[in-house]
């Protein structure tokens, strides 16, 4: 708690936390956008989300270990994860698309447990990071330090978001995805192969998460059992922003990033994860209570 006073005494610390939070939030926004995509189009809450992020990080690590330049890891992670996501759809997800949400939650939770230990066995249980060899900027007389790789992550997240928006708006597949999200049956009648759309959407989600994961491994660290917190962050962001609301997703992702930084600083880093999970619970309960006054509930 004494750290709380420190923020007021040294405003530069506050600036540091806000900057870090926003840079962090940009990466969360990517994963959250993917979750909103799958949720909106396929009506599946994808608990594996976090594992795709971590897997993307491991792919980027593998690419750099093979001798390729570190930044090549981002497109490589996206491509590999797209393939894995497509495969995952063809093996499991297509069976649960039309089932109730509980089935999809539990099935994807099962996949998440499976992938966690699979990654642990394949890649080892160490905390890993990838250093692309970029420096750090200092501002405000050295009080605020910004590592360039985080800024790069922020910029690339922005680029990916713009590319996704253009893709969803202009391409044939993007239009098909939006049509399927609005009414899958009508889309089928109009000749859209919804099964293919679902497979593509799921692959696209995994690819977005993979790219996010490649950014995570460069800017922060990854660990095989760390996936669930990215899922919960994505879910929290989507619950706050709503489905199909990209500006909302970005704004609430920044908000979550900043809130997390402040919580981690004031409460201590060991409670940062607990804060994220409790924030989810608090947001769900408070939103629902507001709705209950009108005799409605979160749907």
């Amino acid at each position: 708690m004494e750290n709380l006073l420190l923020i007021f005494e040294a405003p530069a610390l506050g600036v540091q936390l806000v900057v870090e939070g926003i840079l962090l939030g940009a990466i969360f926004a990517l994963a959250a956008y993917g979750m909103a995509l799958v949720w909106g189009v396929m009506n599946i809450i994808n608990i594996v989300q976090g594992e795709w992020v971590i897997l993307g990080g491991f792919v980027a690590l593998g690419v750099s270990q093979a001798g390729a330049p570190e930044l090549l890891g981002i497109p490589a992670a996206a491509v590999v994860l797209f393939a894995i996501g497509w495969l995952c759809y063809r093996l499991v997800i297509f069976r649960i698309v039309d089932r109730d949400l509980f089935t999809s939650i539990l099935a994807t939770f099962g996949l998440s447990i499976l992938l966690q230990q699979l990654m642990n066995e394949l890649f080892g249980s160490d905390v890993r990071t990838l250093d692309p060899g970029l420096g750090t900027w200092f501002m405000m007389g050295g009080m605020v330090s910004i590592s360039q790789v985080k800024v790069l992550g922020f910029v690339l997240a922005g680029v990916i978001a713009v590319a996704l928006t253009l893709f969803m708006r202009n391409s044939r597949m993007g239009q098909a995805i939006r049509a399927t999200a609005q009414d899958a049956r009508a889309a089928r009648i109009l000749g859209i192969d919804t099964d293919r759309v679902y497979a593509f959407t799921y692959g696209l989600n995994a690819a977005i998460c993979g790219a996010a994961g490649a950014l995570v491994v460069m800017a922060f660290t990854i660990h095989p059992y760390q996936g669930l917190i990215y899922t919960v962050r994505s879910f929290t962001i989507v619950v706050v922003a709503g489905l199909g609301n990209l500006p909302g997703v970005i704004a609430s992702a920044f908000g979550l990033g900043v809130a997390e930084q402040f919580a981690g600083f004031t409460l201590g880093a060991e409670y940062q994860n607990a804060f994220v999970f409790l924030l989810l619970v608090a947001i769900l309960i408070s939103r629902n209570m507001l709705l209950q006054r009108q005799r409605k509930y979160l749907k």
Partner: protein, 364 residues
């Protein structure tokens, strides 16, 4: 005619009580026959309790909770803290990280355990009551994910809280008495808990409360329109689950002998998922389903898990996907579809055959 049904009713009743008696005798003798497996058998009863209590909300009320592990962990920590706290200073005990060993006499131990389990049950129930009114307003997947968050948050907080040993966990006091007595004692304790839970739930489901929570499962808005205080029923249902889970947690903490915050107490990916899986495997929404599911799952696990060292969670994940995707009705649900007469459902030949003469159906 009525006489005949009465005699068959009496026959069924005798058969049922014979069945219960057989299970009782086998369970009482089992630890004497296989003394090496007492701990595993004690866990079988704990699993039965976990599956049964999950099914109160998940099966009977239609609220799929992933956070029931919260009450399990709360019970475990409260029991251990009281067992230690009655005799020594908890902070110093945990700061020693197992360096200070508590060796109570049998009387002290039983007192500590009794008080611990009692307060654990109350604390877990209180937790359910506090969170119940907020959480149970959520429906469907929001409830599922909200409870998942709650369970993990509890583990994270426990892992950061120095009073209860933080990340390095806590050791309950040593059991007094000769080797082997501890396993036997906890076997019978778990067995008693499972029996009490089973009959309490049987009683509850048979009455008004059971009907009310089934109505909530079928259509909550209509149930509320019929005058059922749904929020109250939901919270009480969760409290009942928490009561038994709290005791189960306290017992497990003592059986395992070491309480780690994320891997034993608030173990979302082991006990937390197992309870869901066992209830679904056996057939959710039935009384016997969770019991059967727990038995099948636990025995399979004990037989095969040791060969899967390092791949257990891969197997668990695979099992979840397979059961949820291909076998969601569970063992009892499957049997009910196959042999409906056995479950007291009368099947009209017309419906079953599908092509029977309609005139014949009218005549009947």
């Amino acid at each position: 005619m009525s006489e005949a049904t009465q005699t068959t009713g009496a026959a069924v009743k005798t058969r049922k009580s014979m069945g219960y008696l057989a299970i009782l005798i086998v369970s009482v003798i089992a630890p004497l026959l296989f003394p090496a497996y007492q701990t595993q058998m004690a866990f079988l009863w704990i699993m039965v309790v976990l599956a049964l209590t999950w099914d109160i909300l998940g099966g009977q009320m239609g609220y799929n909770s992933f956070g029931n592990i919260l009450f399990f962990g709360v019970g475990m920590y409260v029991t251990a803290v009281l067992q230690v706290g009655l005799f020594t200073d908890v902070t110093a005990y945990n700061a020693a990280k197992g360096g200070e060993v508590l060796d109570p006499t049998l009387g002290e131990y039983l007192l500590g355990l009794g008080v611990g389990l009692g307060i654990a049950a109350i604390a877990a129930t209180a937790c359910a009551a506090v969170f119940g009114f907020g959480m149970l307003g959520l429906r469907g997947h929001y409830f599922a994910i909200g409870t998942l968050g709650l369970g993990i948050a509890a583990g994270e907080i426990a892992a950061g809280w120095d009073y209860i040993g933080a990340g390095s966990g806590m050791v309950p006091p040593r059991f007094p008495g000769e080797t082997g007595a501890r396993e036997e004692f906890f076997y019978y304790l778990s067995f008693a808990l499972a029996i009490v839970t089973f009959f309490a739930l049987k009683r509850i489901y048979a009455g008004r409360f059971g009907l009310a929570i089934n109505a909530i499962r079928d259509d909550e808005d209509k149930a509320e329109a019929m005058g059922i205080h749904t929020t109250r029923y939901k919270a009480v249902g969760w409290c009942i689950a928490a009561f038994f889970l709290g005791i189960a947690g306290g017992i497990v903490g003592n059986i395992v002998g070491f309480i780690a915050p994320r891997d034993v107490a608030f173990a979302g990916v082991t006990y937390g998922v197992w309870m869901v899986l066992m209830a679904i495997l056996g057939g959710k929404g039935t009384l016997w389903g969770p019991v059967i599911g727990a038995a099948v799952f636990h025995i399979t696990q004990e037989l095969f898990w040791t060969y899967l060292l390092g791949w257990q969670r891969v197997a668990l994940g695979l099992l979840i996907v397979v059961i949820v995707v291909f076998f969601p009705q569970g063992i009892l649900g499957f049997l009910r579809e196959k042999f409906p007469e056995r479950f007291g459902y009368k099947v009209q030949p017309k419906e079953a055959g599908g092509s029977a003469d309609p005139a014949e159906g009218g005549a009947r």
